[in-house]
Subunit: 207 residues, 2 copies
């Protein structure tokens, strides 16, 4: 299946600013993207990047600097074939999770993200459009109903766990593998216990 | 299958203290427990409560006020039949997720929790013991290897998403149903956008 992977090529992962500088955020985001593209290909799919700026990448790239929702809907409006949309920061993604996403034979398949987002979906209905603002999972369910699309959901921690903010790094350190995990490791991040719960800490950082 | 559900009947959910008083935390924890027990029974299993203090409950209850790890291992030491262990704060649990947990025919089945924990497992090996301290998922994988047990993992957001701290309430408000969701609703919690991301807010609370 064709899989659209939106990617912020300019100033990615701003919520990681407290712990990574702009250059590190770009490198880290790029490592997560590489992992996601690798997993999609290993699962037998054809990823296509939808980037906010030109970027060199071993897969087809289209550039659209409009907001995420607008850019994705422009792609959907031109498609007749089924399309999956997978976020570029799903650093825990596995081929199993991708297979489970693509298995249900529904017009719309949604995979919830932590905090109410929609981290991955499959669209097989011509009228379905996305709206990534706010609690998008709820909106996407409503949107599927509104266009009379059959709806299925996929229960996957590895899809739900996007890497957005410092606390999310624990999951990548514990459960991840691949380039992003390796980058964190080389950047001296480890898991420590802080206030009775696991936290990601960078070597040399004050507790 | 028999399912052990450990439950803190004294001072549960202390990390929700910033937004719930002690009495509310007890009521809310009890609502989550009810939901978990209902789902386990609906999935065809036999839940047994392992509580830190006497509690009235429509299922068998044993009381052990020792730390979680010690109390669970005392149960495991006496068992010969397979046993699942499911945390009492999995307020998003569904029968599908329970079925996926119980399906793999491995000696040990682990379901990761957000932040490195082990939110649910199935134990079919006589030598396997738990250690819930810290990044328990990693330790449990090592423990399975150490006793030559076959190991399988289950990828479920609904198992991974335990409700521990205020930020977790968003997931329950968006994805939950059942008593805990209803209690939050009646306690006037809703999802709002705060600093560009969804957050749980109580009516009347200062932003």
């Amino acid at each position: 299946m064709d899989v659209l992977v939106p990617f912020d090529a300019r100033d990615p992962k701003t919520r990681l600013s407290p712990i990574l500088d702009p250059s590190e955020r770009r490198t880290f985001a790029r490592a997560m993207l590489t992992d996601v593209l690798d997993v999609l290909r290993d699962a037998g799919h054809q990823p296509e990047l939808l980037a906010t700026a030109p970027i060199s990448c071993p897969c087809p790239v289209s550039v659209d600097d409009r907001p995420l929702t607008t850019a994705v809907n422009a792609v959907l409006a031109e498609r007749t074939e089924p399309l999956a949309i997978v976020m570029a920061d799903l650093a825990l993604l596995t081929t199993d999770a991708v297979e489970r996403l693509c298995s249900p034979n529904a017009d719309v398949v949604l995979a919830p993200g932590r905090g109410g987002g929609t981290n991955a979906m499959v669209v097989r209905h011509p009228d379905f459009r996305v709206d990534y603002h706010g609690v998008s999972f709820r909106d996407h369910c409503g949107q599927a109903r509104a266009c009379d699309a059959t709806l299925s959901t996929v229960d996957s921690f590895r899809i739900a766990a996007d890497i957005d903010e410092p606390a999310d790094l624990v999951d990548l350190l514990v459960y991840g593998e691949g380039e992003a995990h390796e980058w964190l490791d080389e950047a001296d991040f480890t898991v420590v216990e802080r206030d009775g719960k696991p936290a990601a800490r960078r070597h040399g950082e004050n507790r």
